[in-house]
Each structure stands twice: as C-alpha cells, then as structure tokens.
C-alpha cells in the first residue's frame, strides 16, 4: 500500500465556501484524507511515508491554467526565437548559430516582427540563404500570418504555388515570403508533418517547466486557424498520458467531429475578432494609432447566431475568442439568440480573453451564465499609460480587463496565461490582477487566487474533484515559499513555488521533509 504524505506547518487555504485555513493536510493515495490544526497531525506520523514542512508557506489547490496553447508552446520552446531581431543581420546571426548547433536539422524560427526590423520588411529567401543553405529554414511572423522560407525550405515543403499569397520576383520565381491562403495551407502541411513522437517529447519537456510553476491542470486550446488540427487530435489521443491534467478545447466549428469524438466542449480559439497587436480586434471606436480602423469581425451576426445555437442544441460547452468590445457584443448577442431559441442552460459557456467588456456586457453575460476566461498578465505586459493598450486604444486603455467590476457583478472569471503569449506563471497572473495598472480594476489577492483554482475547476465542470482543498478531493496541491496573503502586493510575482503535487504524487519539491 502506498504510504501517506503529510504536509505540516502550512497555511492551507481551502478556497472553498467555508473559507477555512488549516495548518496540516494528509494525503492518502490520490485524495486529501484529512486536514486540521496544531499537533493533531501527529496521529498520522507513523503511517506517513513522507512529511513535508511547508515552513509557514501558503498551501493552495494546484493551479488551473484556463487558456494555454500547449502543443504550439511546447514546439515553440524548441524553436528559434526571433522576436528580438532588429535587422536581417540579426536574423542571419541567429539562424547560422542554430544551424551550427544542430547541423542539417530543420530550423523553425518564431516571433519575427517586420516592424521591428530596420529594413521595415520581411527578408526573402536569398537573404536567409546567405546564412543557411544546409537545412530548411521556416520562419513564422509574430502573428503567424506570414511565413518566410529559404530556398531549401521552398523546395523541401509542399508549397501550394497556385494559391493566393505567394510572392514572386520579377522572373516569376517565388521569393519565399508567403501569406494569405498559401500560408494557411503551408502551415498546415508543415505542422502536420511533425510526427506525434516529436510532439510528445516537446510537450513532456515543456510540462516540466509548467509543473515548477504549480500548474496541475491545463485547458489546452488546440487546433484551428493558424494552429493545426493535428495538435488537437494529438492531445485527444494522448489523454491520460501526461503528468498533469490536460483538458482539450478543440478550436473547430465542426460540431459533427466533436460529437464523433464524444467531447462535450468546443472552441477555445474560435476567433470572433483579431488582436490589439495587429489592430484587428473589433472595436466600437477607431484605433488610436490607426485612424479609420476599428478592427474587424470574422462572422456575420447571423452566422454566429446559427453556430452558437447549434452548440446549445447539441449541449456543447462553447468557448469563443473575443477581444474588442464589438466582438464581445456580437458573441453575447449570439448567446442571447441561442438561449432564446433552445432554452438550454447550465452549459457554462465561456468567452476567452474578453479584454474590453462594457458594464452592459458584463450584466448580460451574468444573466446568460457566461464565464469570462481572462489573462491578467496581459495587464502586466501591455497595461498602463505607456504600453501597448494605451498605444492602440488611447484613453480607452483604462477600460481593459475590469476584473473588479466583473466579479462585483457576479460573473465568474477563470484565469489563464494564454501561454506562450505570456509565461505560464499563475503567480504572475495573480500579481497582475491584484496590481492592475488601473486601480479601480484591481482585485483582492484571494479573488485573484480563485481565478486560478476553484474558478478554473468550475469552468471545466471539475469543481467536484478539484479547485479546492477539501477532504475527499483530488490531492492537487501547491506549496509556496511564503504566506501569500501577508506578502506585500507588489512582491507577489516574486513568490516561488516550492512543491507541486498532482493526484497525490510529488512532481516537484524544493522543501525538505
């Protein structure tokens, strides 16, 4: 029989309705067996195989990261990061270093932003050829909308030359810069060609770093445009093979496929609009730095209404990607339509990101029972008067991610990192929600923790098994290096995870017994 695990000398925040705090916890097999105060734990010492002294650190339910691109993040972690390149020469240096480090291995570059390059445009194949001719080089722009290939890659990958989006030189030879339809198909071909064994290797390697940050459950947003359906199929087929729980959100509109796979949820990154970065998120006002542009919607209202209604009719939980206020309006209107048509409730539909909701949106979402799946770390990276939100939205930056109002109105927020857009660090997410640049949008530490624990579990119908520390629940536990509730709010991001336990198994531990 497996020996018990005892955690003592901690500040165990249950995150349950009773709001209790215990000092010790007994884990037997994969469950929480008992919890209590003071010396009561001593009766269990004899049977305990391991005792962890939490040293007065906070003990929390394992973190749930509600928005995570696990396969692409894992593959990207093995890719060449070109986000810091400022010239063709920078790109070349990084590419040649990568080629030298792993001769003849395919090179996949990510994060290239032409706006950051002094040349002000993407390099063509002849530029990349100067630095690497021995292996195919496939570079993705930061938004994945453009691909740049060297000559080897152009000949190596199956390129659909007759499709829109192939750039030609004056001799009608492809330049290696690929956009539009051709880029979609090329990405699909390239990503599909990655064997699942590589995916498994990359994901397992990547999850190790995730576990160190206390995450025990991930909502994997896989498949769909700019990603690859094979990623979603891989997660589906690998169910139960990962060290932590990976819950699939398949970003497809193919309801029939979802039913055949017997999944009970659909979506994740079903783009109702675009991003602030690319000025494609749909706004009710013009972009501050691009007059005349209000972004765009990817659906007509009728089309979205019909799709959402079909999801309701099929009793599928739906997660729609919405960023700008116009997209949020469209999504909420579609939900209202679908609810009226079907009368189906209780499906806990989600809006992902929801960066610019109005009070009216929040109140209507509450009525519909919608959950907001949000990424607080966006505020840390882009929020405040001198960063991207201000640049793109002008004074409307003060309206982004109004966590406090959303919670006050009774809408559940589950927190996610949108990894690898932001780092997979729930403590950074908590820090960002607590220290929102706009004071009126800030939330308490406790509310911020809820986003990454009980609310995360609720948003995937798993609150009966996880999300709180209660006797009988799954022993998904994280121990911090200090008491989070009494830590200076500005220093929450400095808190370290000391131990991560998943279903009673210690996956990561820096504390001595």
């Amino acid at each position: 029989m497996k020996k018990d695990l005892l955690i003592i000398n901690g500040k165990c925040l249950t995150m349950s309705d009773d709001d209790k705090e215990y000092s010790w916890m007994l884990i037997r097999d994969d469950n929480i067996q008992d919890m209590g105060w003071g010396d009561d734990y001593k009766k269990y010492i004899a049977r305990a195989g391991k005792v962890i002294d939490a040293k007065k650190g906070t003990v929390l339910p394992g973190f749930v990261d509600s928005h995570f691109h696990v396969v692409q993040a894992a593959l990207n972690s093995r890719s060449l990061d070109l986000s810091k390149a400022r010239s063709f020469r920078d790109i070349g240096t990084l590419v040649s270093e990568a080629a030298k480090a792993s001769p003849k291995r395919n090179i996949r570059g990510i994060g290239l932003d032409a706006q950051n390059l002094k040349e002000g445009r993407f390099p063509d194949r002849t530029v990349i050829d100067k630095y690497c001719k021995e292996a195919p080089v496939f570079i993705n722009s930061v938004e994945y909308q453009t691909s740049v290939l060297n000559t080897y890659a152009l000949l190596y990958y199956k390129i659909p030359f007759t499709l829109e989006g192939i750039d030609f030189d004056e001799n009608q030879v492809p330049t290696g810069i690929i956009t539009h339809y051709a880029n979609v198909l090329l990405r699909e071909n390239v990503l599909k060609s990655i064997p699942n064994s590589t995916r498994m290797e990359a994901v397992n390697e990547f999850l190790e770093s995730v576990i160190k940050n206390g995450i025990t459950t991930i909502n994997a947003m896989e498949g769909g445009r700019l990603y690859c359906d094979k990623d979603a199929e891989f997660i589906y087929e690998s169910a139960g093979k990962f060290t932590i729980d990976v819950v699939l959100f398949f970003s497809t509109m193919d309801i029939m496929k979802i039913k055949e796979m017997q999944l009970n949820r659909i979506g994740g990154c079903l783009y109702v609009d675009g991003t602030f970065g690319a000025r494609t998120a749909a706004l009710t006002f013009e972009y501050n730095d691009c007059p005349g542009n209000m972004g765009g919607l990817n659906f007509t209202q009728d089309a979205l209404n019909e799709f959402v209604r079909e999801c309701y009719a099929n009793k599928l939980q739906l997660a729609l990607y919405t960023i700008g206020d116009r997209a949020i309006e469209q999504a909420i209107t579609a939900h209202e339509y679908a609810l009226e048509k079907t009368g189906n409730t209780g499906l806990r539909h989600r809006l992902e990101h929801v960066e610019l909701p109005t009070l009216d949106h929040i109140r209507r979402a509450k009525k519909l029972g919608l959950i907001f799946s949000m990424s607080p770390t966006y505020e840390h990276i882009w929020g405040g008067p001198n960063k991207l939100y201000r640049e793109r939205l002008g004074d409307n930056y003060k309206r982004t991610n109004p966590f406090s109002q959303i919670i006050q109105e009774g809408v559940v927020i589950c927190g996610g990192s949108d990894c690898d857009v932001t780092p997979a660090e729930p403590l950074l997410g908590i820090h960002s929600a607590v220290n929102h640049p706009v004071e009126s949008h800030r939330v308490s530490v406790y509310e911020a923790i809820k986003m990454f624990t009980c609310n995360g579990a609720y948003s995937i119908f798993e609150e009966d098994r996880k999300g709180t520390l209660e006797i009988g629940k799954l022993a998904d536990v994280v121990i911090l290096d200090r008491d989070i509730l009494s830590t200076d709010k500005k220093k929450i991001k400095d808190i370290k995870v000391m131990t991560t336990i998943k279903s009673g198994r210690i996956l990561y531990n820096k504390l001595k017994g």
Partner: protein, 387 residues
C-alpha cells in the same frame, strides 16, 4: 526508348530498364537542363555555371566533360546510331533525331485554347505524380534551384488548367460523375477555391443529390470559417439557399431513377418473439446497411424520427448526414410507427427492387406480425417478402 519522368520522384529508364540509380544528382540535373532547353544549344559555360558555380573554370569544364561522357555510356545510341546528346567543343544539346519521352515536355503540349479529347486530357492529368523534381535541392546551385522553383510553379498551374479543361469537357457531355470527381481532385489542390466549390454544389443540385449538396456546402463553409475566418461568397450562399428553401425545384432522384432499371436488394431479417417491433426494426437496420443511406435520409424527417424510436441506428445516421440538432425522441404511438414504416418502405422501393427474407418467422412478435399483414395487403410495388 528513353523515358524521362521529372514530375514526382525522378525516373529515367532506357528500354524499360531503370537507370536512375546509376546517375548522380548532377547528371540528372544536367539531363534536366538539356531537356528543358531541348530546342536549342546550351553553352558549356552556362551549364558549368548552373551546376558547378563554386568550382574554378577548369575544374567545372572537366566535371562537365566527365559527366557528359558518363551519360553517353549510360544512355545507348538508338538503332540508327543516333546519340541522345550532341556534343560540340563549346556547347551541347539534345539530339532532335533521338526519340525519347518526357512528362515535362508532354504537358507543354497542352494549350488551354486548343481542343483536346477527354482521353488526351486524362493522359496528361495522369502525368502529375508529384512536384517537379521532387526531393531535389542542390546546395550551392542557386540558379538551378531557381529553375526548379520556377518549373514547380509552371507545372502546378498547368495541372490545374488541364483538370479544369477536363471538367469543362465532362460538363459539356453531361458526364456529371466524372466531372464531380475531377472537381474534387482540384479541391484537394486548391481547397479554398470557391469557383470549384460552386461547380460541385451545382452538380449535386442538378443531379438531385440534395443531401450531398447541403453536406458539401456545410463542410466547405466550416473549412473557410475555421481556416480562413471568412464566409463563402454570395454566389455560393445563394446557390445553397436554393437548396434549402426550394427542394421541390430539384430533380427528384426517384423521377430520374425510375427511368432506369431498379437495383435489386435482398435483405435477411430476424424476429424475436417478445420484443415489440423487433422484426420491423431489423428491416430498417438491414436497409440502412445495404441501401444508399443518403437517399434513405431524404424521407421526411418526422417519419425518420418516429422510426428512430424503435431503431436508434436511424437517428445516428440522421445526425450524421442531415442534422446534428439534438432531438429528443419521446414515446411514439404504435400507429405512427406503422405509418412511418410504410412510408420508409415506399421510399426505398422507389429506387430498389427489395426482397425481404424472414429467417425465423415463427418467432415474430405480435406487433411485427400485424405490420407484416398490413404491408402484404397494401401491396407496395417492388417489395417482395419471403418467409
């Protein structure tokens, strides 16, 4: 005869004997250059620049000389003593008098403005086994690599043109099935092409295949939305609307098919004494297994849903091919089941000559016995029941 295949994996054979493995990459590239320029002489210097750009002049000229000599040994002269390559001091070229075949040159014979027969186009279509010089890349031969890239663009464009011409010809002579097949192949090459999708939808409409048309549109629409985040164009949407709003305007399958001889269908069915409607449910299942499911699903949805009360396979098929909308099938009165079953058999018998064999009639449940009697007295055309 010498045969050179450049589309897909390169294959060079002489009188049926494959000699590709005996050739180096440079020799294949050299043949390729000479064949692509078969109507002119190629300067030796130019050939050297393509294939040995990094070598000094003397070494490059030696390499060319050596490889030409190797090829002369590999490719025998024809019965009239003609060699494949004519070599002079400064240049070389393909010998006009030497007979050989090359897929790449064959597709050059295609001109979209000139008439070709179906058979000729089919032969051309068959030549496309893959990309031009698939798997080929020569590290330092930039100019040669550019030729490959250019040729790939040319060949892919030709391939689509040839297939389009073939589809047009099939359309002219009303060979819808073949036209459809070619269009589907074209869609695998250009999966977002709305003109091709329009034609496919139109063929389904013209041939009365409404279910397939609706399904095709939905799949295509979903693909556009999922992968490109766009909706189909207005023409496609309008065509789709004619399918969903005016099904009566389509040619009825039954009408079409009644002109031809009905297909014979024999199904074996079993009974179970104490299970209500067991035999009826078994007949439905057997028909689902053997008949055209899409056609069966064209029966009015209400009858299908009534029958799905006793045969769940029907509901599953309905969800797969018609609508995914979740339907709760509540208790259905026996009279509605009987009525729906008769409609179902009537519908199936429009296109099939059905022989239903009952394997253990003695075990039939009372409700099925009543239904059987009703069918026998109704004497539905093209249904024969044996016990």
């Amino acid at each position: 005869m010498l045969s050179i295949k450049m589309l897909g994996q390169v294959n060079i054979s002489c009188n049926g004997v494959n000699i590709t493995d005996k050739m180096s990459t440079k020799q294949i590239a050299l043949i390729c250059l000479l064949v692509l320029n078969h109507d002119r002489e190629m300067n030796r210097e130019k050939l050297c620049a393509y294939l040995w750009p990094d070598s000094d002049e003397e070494a490059a000229r030696y390499n060319l000389r050596y490889n030409l000599w190797k090829m002369k040994n590999l490719i025998p002269a024809d019965p009239k003593g003609q060699n494949f390559i004519l070599i002079t001091k400064d240049s070389c070229r393909v010998n006009k008098k030497y007979r050989f075949q090359c897929d790449r040159l064959c597709i050059d014979s295609f001109d979209p403005h000139k008439q070709k027969s179906v058979e000729e186009l089919l032969q051309l279509k068959e030549l496309f086994k893959g990309d031009f010089l698939e798997g080929f890349y020569m590290k330092n031969c930039n100019e040669f690599n550019e030729i490959i890239l250019f040729e790939r663009v040319v060949c892919q464009t030709k391939q689509i043109e040839i297939m389009q011409k073939l589809a047009d010809l099939y359309e002219e002579v009303n060979r819808s099935e073949e036209e459809l097949q070619v269009l589907h192949e074209m869609m695998t090459i250009e999966p977002y092409n709305e003109n091709f999708a329009y034609r496919i939808l139109n063929i389904y409409k013209k041939t009365g295949n409404r279910t397939s048309a609706i399904n095709y549109f939905k799949k295509f629409e979903s693909k556009l939305r999922r992968e490109l985040n766009i909706a189909p164009n207005n023409d496609l949407k309008l065509l789709y609307r004619t399918l969903t709003e005016t099904p009566g305007s389509m040619i009825k399958d039954g009408m079409n098919r009644s002109k031809v001889e009905k297909k014979k269908l024999t199904i074996k069915t079993r009974c179970m004494k104490n299970i209500d409607f067991f035999w009826v449910a078994d007949v439905i299942n057997a028909l689902l297994q053997k008949a055209d499911r899409n056609y069966l699903m064209e029966l009015h949805a209400n009858y299908i849903l009534d029958l799905s009360y006793i045969q769940n396979e029907l509901l599953l098929q309905y969800e797969r091919s018609v609508s995914l909308e979740h339907r709760e099938v509540g208790k259905v009165p026996a009279v509605r089941i009987v009525n729906a079953f008769v409609k179902f058999l009537n519908h199936a018998s429009q296109i099939y000559d059905i022989n239903i064999h009952i394997e253990n009639y003695n075990e039939m449940d009372p409700l099925s016995i009543a239904v059987l009697k009703h069918i026998e007295t109704s004497s539905i055309d093209n249904i024969c029941i044996t016990k």
